[in-house]
Symmetry: C2
Subunit: 412 residues, 2 copies
């Protein structure tokens, strides 16, 4: 907080659905942090839906327009008018950019405003930023993406549970991972629009939705997936963009991935993109590809970048202390004499110290036995206290070995 209140930065919001309402909720929550970095305090200056708000009024009262209404008719008109009025625009609308991107980007250059669109592809996964900023000037050779969360959820669900396509789709709809009308997702059209945008940036050549052949997943069977398992393959809907000689191939189709491929482990509604370029080998970015708050986070990242490029590392705002005793799960390896009751005694020491055991493996070693335990999260001081007590037991034949365990918390 500086003594002078930061000047306002007015954000007009077109659309107040899944993404728009999350932007309206999250932007005020980060306004202080954003003011700290940019010197300007963002505020929502108006909201347009089919039933409320007036576009002309919102436009006149905003420094930047966020377009999260979808569609290619009104959205195109409003984005065009915002740019012509000299306002920055942030959009999450892949169909709009895959069909009219060149026209809108050219208009933005002409009017010297920013047109940002991180949220249009793979939600909060920062693939647009990486292609436009980190990799500028580096020739991309190929790009593979899982850019539709609905179909990835359906395919991983079919593989995990043996469900049919229809059953997995119904589950996706119930969980909110698929819309009531899933056509654009399951036919591959949504993914094709995103691949058109990625290919445009990666290969610096115009790519229109109509240049991208696509194939969906509705015809896939659990049988395909089961056979593939024998061959150590996993089935995904993959977008590919690659340079072949002097031409480009951009397409979307179901494909099997070998287990070692970085996209093979992307599960559930997650998205991921692998970018291959000679100098860098490859980088992979993954995370949630959709959802209101996630997409809104990407939108807000773009708003901040448009407000002022973070040219500097701002001063810190916190001075947090450092924890000196942290809870952790542990692996514990103890060599013991092979006597009855040894495991019970080890378990008793742990229990008395409040350390709870998650799993145990005991193996004979010829001359003695070896206990390997994994314990539930516990303060380190408490755990190491128990280990010291165990180490002092006469049946322990070598110093116990402890290594931390990081729990499976993957949200995908």
């Amino acid at each position: 907080m500086t003594p002078d209140a930061p000047a306002p930065f007015r954000v007009g919001l077109l659309g107040h659905g899944t993404v728009g309402s999350a932007v309206a909720e999250l932007l005020p929550e980060s306004a202080d942090a954003i003011a700290h970095v940019t010197g300007l305090r963002p505020e929502i200056s108006g909201v347009l839906t089919r039933s409320r708000g007036d576009f002309d009024e919102i436009l006149a009262g905003s420094d930047l327009i966020v377009e999260v209404m979808g569609g290619t008719d009104d959205a195109r008109t409003y984005v065009t008018r915002a740019i012509e009025a000299g306002k920055h625009v942030v959009t999450a609308n892949k169909q709009l950019l895959a069909e009219h991107g060149e026209e809108l980007w050219a208009l933005a250059r002409e009017h010297r405003v920013q047109l940002r669109f991180e949220a249009a592809v793979a939600g909060v996964v920062p693939v647009i930023r990486v292609l436009q900023e980190s990799l500028t000037g580096h020739p991309v050779e190929r790009l593979h993406g899982i850019v539709n969360g609905t179909t990835n959820f359906i395919l991983t669900q079919m593989a995990a549970t043996g469900a049919s396509y229809e059953e997995a789709l119904a589950e996706a709809q119930q969980l909110g991972y698929a819309e009531a009308d899933p056509t654009d997702d399951v036919t591959g059209k949504d993914a094709a629009a995103k691949m058109a945008i990625l290919a445009r940036l990666a290969f610096d050549t115009p790519v229109h939705l109509s240049d991208v052949p696509y194939e969906g997943i509705a015809h896939l069977t659990t049988e395909d997936i089961e056979y593939a398992r024998d061959l150590d393959l996993s089935l995904r809907l993959i977008g590919t963009a690659e340079r072949i000689g002097d031409e480009l191939a951009v397409r979307v189709h179901p494909a099997f991935l070998y287990k070692g491929h970085p996209l093979a482990s992307v599960e559930g509604p997650f998205n991921a993109v692998t970018i291959e370029s000679p100098a860098i080998t490859e980088i992979t970015l993954s995370g949630p590809g959709a959802g209101g708050p996630q997409t809104a986070t990407a939108v807000i990242g773009d708003v901040i970048s448009a407000m002022i490029p973070p040219a500097q590392t701002p001063p810190t705002r916190n001075t947090l202390g450092f924890v000196d005793d942290v809870a952790s799960s542990f692996y514990l390896h103890v060599e013991v004499a092979d006597k009855p009751g040894v495991l019970a005694q080890v378990a008793q020491v742990l229990g008395l110290q409040g350390v709870s055991v998650k799993s145990v493996v005991q193996k004979g070693t010829g001359t003695g036995a070896r206990l390997v335990l994994v314990v539930h999260p516990v303060l380190e001081s408490r755990f190491y206290g128990a280990v010291q007590l165990i180490a002092a037991k006469d049946f322990v034949t070598a110093p116990p070995r402890a290594i931390r365990v990081i729990d499976e918390e993957f949200a995908g």
Copy 2:
């Protein structure tokens, strides 16, 4: 290429070792592409090593200084002097920032120049950019990283081959993944410096190298790894930074990861970082964490960002055509009558069409048999031609099913 030649942007290079020589090689190669985006053409204006170049002369003749010499004495002096002279600085030096970051960032703010450091953590993996730009204003809850490629190579090698720590280290040295003196890597000190930088950005609080306790990997045994396999865990050197109440815990130690954790599949010299924040769930970024060209790519990305923030999507420079026949590997599923010679006939058709088989599974289905083949990459037209011929055979009892296969090309 615009009719007017773009103005030069002079880059002074401090250091000409692994990273510096790669910058000197790659920057001129991307100069045209960079000029296209920024309007300025970067050129190397001078090079400093222990045996050549004069710092004062280079400073006077440069718009931006790239510091890739390492160390914390001369590097600190030169970076300070460059900032004071009003020049942007790009550095790959994690020790410098983990020890003197606050002082240098404050100086850069004071002199209104940029101090960029993507290459200092996880090489070309754009974690600094994502923390500073995409996630500004979003509270980070926790961050886990594999930020040292040397130790990750050693640990995955021990797991894959049963090699001892000493053997795996020797192999890493031979392959250039470990230096002759690997102390900073294997003790965890290098990772601790990187975690200090990441925690500083994620939690917006000063974090100094001395705030980060670290533990190395030299004491780990193949036995630990083998037992862990029974428990479905994989062993990695993990940096963790997390907020616990109003305090922070930042540390580096070996840790086991459950199989589903996004970092568990990061192999070889690769780096990866998982960022957890309530709004976004988590995102994971992975790629090569070191190496001359990779690190130089990150340095050049920073140079471009410092030259001019890419406020706009530049016009395309290419107009590539689209390939209409692409080579791909395929999975082919054929239901056949259970007669002798059927597999041979299928194989013959494929062979005549130039389609070469990689693997086959044949299974009885009670009434007939099912062939599942994977073929080596072949032009789609050729493959589908063969499938059509096979479909026409009298022993084929249902339309064959074909799905593309993406080959295992993971460089890790």
